[in-house]
Amino acid sequence: MAQPEALNDLRAKFGDKIRRVEEKNDRRTYVNIAEGDLTDVARYLCNKEGRLVTITGIDTRSGVELLYPFFFADEHHLITLKVMARKPKPSVPSLATWLPAANWSEREIQDLLGVTFTGHPDPRRLLLADSWPEGVHPLRRDFKGLPE
């Protein structure tokens, strides 16, 4: 299986910061990193012409797992960065300060999963209604519906 160039570059530059690489198949790779390294690695992938597709959040016992898929069109490859935002106050640095494409995705996750994106230029509510109570996040596992 040919290694995509972007992944080799990433390994060469951030070898010590990559915690684990899962090569799912020849078009999908998942790369685990620490939340402190997110900005550097994401900026590097953007400079290598990776397109941030979206951001996915998954609520787990220890924190909110955040997935940042970057698509490399020329290599037909999707590299997904995985970052764990630890509870009780999940927080990661915002990418929207320098990447407009991350803006709405981060606001969406802030609404639905209660992750704080530090430094976000416009951290207003995006999807939830104005009347929705503060601090209640519908995609958290402990969400059991709004009180009557």
């Binding site: 597709v53 979206t54 898929p69 997904t80 990447l99 407009p100 995705s105």
Partner: protein, 408 residues
């Protein structure tokens, strides 16, 4: 000069989605804008966690009424990526046919509405007249004009009968003829040029920075298309071309969509020519634990689905990203500096499942002011076209074409 705030939205009577745009206006020029979505948030990602893997396609098919097959297609791509299987070859071809028919239907729908916005109701009727045979084909193939329920993890629910091939080919030939006439007329029409050329320009740099997708990015001259870049269905089994157009303005996005209608018809013809009888479904028993991502190029751009499974019968997490979420924020790059009468058209050019103009209120510096309705805003746009046409002093080619066709 005094800044006036014009809120557009959130509801539009014609279409399915609600959004809210606040335009900050000085004189006739838009100087800033703000957007809000979320009026229609239905919690589908949460709901999906309570469905079995086989039920989810029916749920996600109902995310959008116009491009209803893109979401199930991206979802089955994601689950197949999770399992590590590929559907049978015939299923791949039929998936392509359904997806391309949908692109034709959606682009013609957009064309008609854009025509209505600029005051060309003949364009509206003409485009929708050619959309109708495509919907009839869907009825022929799937039994439904919309929500075709064709996609299934591992294949398809329904085959296309060989007896139906001639009908499909004949109808598409008719649509192709109509679209080609239409392309000739639109590309040369001076009024359409005046209304759409140089209006709402999305530069290639902004198109990349905002992560825009589909005809929005291809209208800025960037050949970005997930059908080529991460091939699914039969897109790597047939010959086809990506349609792009330089300029980034409303005209370029229109041109991309019209060219794509013709290209989609070519793709379907090739699929019908190449596909052979065979199985359309894998016999999958259960979904293992793991994660998978799937894309599909919807008419508006790439749809992205992520599915995680713990080995049970239901997804633990199902993330959905529709193209408009990336395309709508780019209005900040395209609307500022433009005229109010063009704002509706610029937002419509992204084909954001519209919704801009039903109830519009003009408020001056926080004071309650005059209320402008959405109909009035569309009227402003239509009057602008009428002015341009009068100044031109001749019958534009689009109208000449329609007059000729009516007299036949």
């Amino acid at each position: 000069m005094k800044t006036v705030v014009i809120p557009l939205g959130p509801f539009h009577p014609l279409l399915e989605e609600a959004e809210y745009f606040k335009l900050y206006v000085e004189g006739e020029t838009v100087v800033d804008m703000d957007m809000r979505v979320g009026y229609m948030h239905r919690g589908i990602e949460k709901l999906s966690e309570s469905k079995t893997f086989d039920q989810v396609p029916f749920l996600v098919e109902r995310i959008c009424g116009i491009c209803s097959t893109s979401h199930p297609l991206a979802y089955v791509n994601a689950v197949e990526d999770l399992i590590g299987v590929e559907p049978p070859e015939r299923a791949k071809y039929i998936r392509t046919i359904i997806a391309e028919l949908e692109r034709i239907e959606s682009h013609l729908l957009w064309m008609g509405l854009a025509g209505h916005f600029i005051g060309y109701d003949t364009v509206f009727m003409w485009a929708w007249r050619y959309r109708e045979p495509v919907l009839d084909l869907f009825e022929l193939i799937s039994g439904n004009r919309n929500h075709y329920a064709m996609m299934k993890v591992g294949g398809l629910r329904r085959d296309i009968k060989e007896d139906d091939y001639p009908q499909i080919l004949t109808s598409l030939e008719e649509v192709k003829g109509g679209t080609e006439l239409f392309i000739g007329a639109v590309m040369d029409d001076p009024v359409i040029h005046a209304r759409t050329k140089g209006v709402g320009i999305l530069t290639p740099e902004d198109a990349v920075a905002y992560g825009t997708l589909g005809p929005t990015v291809r209208g800025s001259g960037i050949p970005d298309d997930i059908r080529r870049d991460d091939p699914y269905a039969a897109y790597d089994l047939i010959e086809w071309n990506i349609c792009t157009y330089e300029g980034g303005d409303v005209f370029a996005k229109t041109a991309v969509r019209l060219l794509e209608v013709v290209e989609s018809i070519n793709i379907i013809n090739r699929c019908i020519e190449q596909m052979r009888p065979g199985p359309i479904d894998l016999d999958l028993q259960n979904i293992p634990a793991g994660e998978g991502t799937g894309h599909a190029e919807a008419p508006r751009g790439e749809v992205f689905h992520y599915v995680r499974s713990d080995g049970s019968s239901r997804p633990v997490r199902h993330k959905i990203r529709a193209p408009s979420l990336m395309n709508i924020p780019s209005f900040k790059a395209t609307c500022i500096g433009e005229k109010v009468a063009d704002a509706a058209l610029i937002t419509a050019a992204v084909d954001p499942c519209y919704c801009c103009t039903e109830r519009t209120a003009a408020v001056e510096k926080g004071n309650e002011g005059e209320i402008i309705t959405g109909a009035q805003l569309v009227e402003m746009s239509r009057q602008k076209t009428a002015r341009i046409r009068n100044d031109l002093g001749e019958v534009p080619p689009v109208e000449k074409l329609v007059q000729r066709l009516i007299s036949q």
